[in-house]
Symmetry: C2
Subunit: 201 residues, 2 copies
């Protein structure tokens, strides 16, 4: 593709590095940015410049934060003896939006995935074990993705926690609310039968 | 949605203003940006800051340009007596990619659309008529979108060109190459029959 201006070309190249953005979409975004008010564009540029320097990571749970401790870790109303292990910041936002969890989090930064060259040492696993040793939580809740990589990561951490004698749980897996059985995959449906919920009448 | 950091929130708000980007996608993009090398992020920020000041528009055809005249208008190998009227810069890139057009362009900046409050005075129509009066091109090719708004704009400019006695054409409309008739809409199929191409054997 030939671009009418060098800045446009470089901007398209920068936008293409973002997830799910191809050259056409990037160009559409850049041209739309060019139509925006000068003030808005300037603000975006400044925010991007500031993000790498100003954004910190919580020293306890490693989530994105404006301070040394994030707003969750420093909130006294949260149950500090329940820690939910998640992959990244988006998972934290997703779980927070459900308003069903009032404990703390621990952001691993990914899952173990040999195919992508991600080993346990690339994740915040050591810091998690240290944290558990120090804070002795009542329960650890795993909320990792339902894939081979998520399971591998979970069992890897299970082994490290074994000797610490802590209650460990994982979010339930099954048919989505509103999901029809005929469209569910066999493994999920099978698991949802094995792990069926008991009701007392 | 609650965000872990103020900068993240403001960045998401800025990305959401881009076309086709919702809050979730914006957040995904911002978090991915946060994972990129500091150098790349800095470059993006600087490019965004420079775009509004450094990018110019060609004084002749109004396309994006690094100079007063764009690389097409200043190219002596182009047929300067054929002008193709297009809506925006993406159309220029799309037509250039076909390598089937060697004339010059004129970027209107949109099409007449009363519903969006865009009248002829908001487009580069006056400058086009002046240009035709001055340069007296051999042919004007319309390449606007195949919608009511595109057609309205075309007929509006037709009327202004009438007295100038110039050859006017428009890109052909019909069934896409590889398109199956049964999936084509009636209007397109009807037009493709009326405007059928004659072959001499």
């Amino acid at each position: 593709m030939e671009y009418p201006s060098n800045i446009i070309k470089e901007l398209v190249d920068a936008f293409v590095k973002l997830p799910g953005i191809g050259k056409r979409t990037a160009l559409r975004m850049v041209l739309s940015l060019l139509k925006q008010e000068e003030e808005d564009v300037k603000k975006l540029g400044e925010l991007v410049l500031r993000m790498k320097t100003d954004i910190q990571f919580c020293q306890k749970c490693h989530t994105i934060s404006d301070n040394e401790l994030c707003h969750i870790c420093s909130d006294n109303n949260r149950e500090s003896n329940v820690i939910c292990i998640i992959e990244d910041h988006r998972d934290l936002i997703a779980i927070e939006n459900t308003k069903q969890f009032n404990g703390l989090y621990h952001v691993l930064g990914g899952v173990v995935s040999p195919i992508d060259g991600i080993g346990p040492e690339d994740l915040k696993i050591d810091s998690f074990v240290d944290r558990v040793r120090k804070d002795k939580p009542k329960e650890v809740v795993f909320a990792l993705r339902a894939t081979m990589e998520g399971d591998t990561t979970m069992y890897y951490i299970f082994n490290l926690l074994k000797e610490l004698n802590i209650k460990v749980s994982a979010i339930s897996r099954g048919i989505s609310i509103g999901g029809e059985l005929e469209f569910a995959d066999e493994v999920t449906l099978g698991r949802s039968i094995v792990n069926r919920t008991n009701y007392t009448l």
